[in-house]
Amino acid sequence: MSQGPEAASWRAADTARPNPVIAEEPTIKPLFVRGPSPLLRMIVAVILSLGLIIADHHYDHLGAVRSTLTLAAYPLHYVVDLPAHMVRDTQGRLTSAAELRARNAALHRENLTLKARLQQFEALEAENMRLRDLLGSSFNVGERVLIAEIMSLEIAPYRQQVMINKGSRSGLFVGQPVLDANAVMGQVIQTNAFTSTVLLITDAEHTLPVEINRNGLRSVAAGTGLSQQLQLLHIPKNADVRVGDLLVTSGMGERFPPGYPVARIKTVRHDPDNPFTTVIAEPTAALDRSREVLLVWTMDPALQQRAITETQPEETAPRP
């Protein structure tokens, strides 16, 4: 660096002369800093970063590099997540016996209710399949589910993204649907061995093919960047859309399995400047409150069997 001499000398001036004998002392700054000038370094750095930005954004060439680098950052992510993890752990240990009994009873009741509903559901599914067989359009939803936990990290400011504590070692893949207990949350956009990044459906760059559960009207739900808002695109002025309608995935994008709840319509407005109806929906999933997420594999039974035997995940729960 060219500015070195004066800079270092006025700091070192009162302690020592530039004498070769004393210059061995560690307290003295080097007087002449060698190497290219800051301007040259800056130009190189700027060209490098612009190249990286373009490569990362336009060409997606850095997928493998990124996942390797994120893997290197895993210790840091783990350490930052640790306090929140320990607080939850401590809370779990400090729960009183009465509270645990109450929660156990509540879960037991919920389990009974769900089981009762499941009996009906199985009969309905069988009936549905028979009817679809008659129409010649039967499909089989072989699905496998893995539970992962959201890490307490703030990544990608101004974006709706979260990091979860399962990665490609558990068989996760890019494009995989992510659900919570209530509804669709998003999809995996990047994986490494131990962690994955999930793009939530409310991110401004995420769109999701949906249909209205009541009448099957298809649309696309686009994220707005706000955590509680989705917008339906291209709904004609005369479409049958009502406040309170449930939106479910239509399966058109071939990424999300069909029939999962997504959002509930909150506002239907006819803006004079908009050639379409403005429809705002609120996600059913607790996007900013969920701790645990479900990862779904949708595939035909043969593939599913192979995947299960290949990548034995830690926690699997077969779906009916």
Binding site: P30, A72, E205
Partner: protein
């Protein structure tokens, strides 16, 4: 540079690591918009006081690491931080003899430049645009700079980095 390795370089690394942790530490939603630009502040400090060691390329490396840690576009922070470090390294003789209030204002301008450059990258890559609260962290940086400067200065003198 390589023959006489200066002392206390570990402090630079440690302060950067702490800044990374503070950047991704979860905070309540209300304070989310107020998170200071920790890494930018630390990079400015070290390129101001040890320009012969923590210059443009170190800032570039720190920016790349921040991009990886916080999951932003690769090169986004590397670009802004290396430009920041360049400005500081070029002007460090003048800034160091400024009175503290003047230095703080200069650092504030640097933080604003960092935000502006990031905004430009976000716009050029078609990412969603943040709202007005995007500029709030610079004011927090304005308040934090004298304290951070004193703290890192003290630690640096003890560790022999300065």
């Amino acid at each position: 540079m390589s023959e006489s390795r200066p002392r206390g370089s570990w402090l630079i690394g440690l302060s950067l690591l702490t800044a990374f942790c503070l950047t991704i530490l979860p905070m309540p939603v209300e304070f989310e918009a107020l998170r200071p630009q920790w890494v930018a502040l630390v990079v400015v400090f070290w390129s101001l006081h040890t320009p012969e060691r923590a210059g443009v390329f170190s800032a570039f490396g720190a920016g790349l690491a921040l991009d990886v840690v916080s999951g932003t576009l690769l090169g986004q922070h590397a670009l802004t931080l290396s430009l920041l470090a360049y400005l500081v390294v070029e002007l460090h003789q003048r800034i160091r003899i400024f009175p503290m209030w003047q230095q703080t204002l200069f650092v504030w301008v640097l933080l604003l430049a960092e935000r502006l450059l990031t905004l430009w990258v976000l716009g050029a890559t078609g990412q969603p645009m943040p709202g007005l609260s995007y500029w709030l962290p610079t004011f927090l940086g304005l308040i934090l700079w004298p304290w951070l400067s004193a703290l890192l200065g003290d630690l640096g003198r003890r560790a022999g980095t300065l």
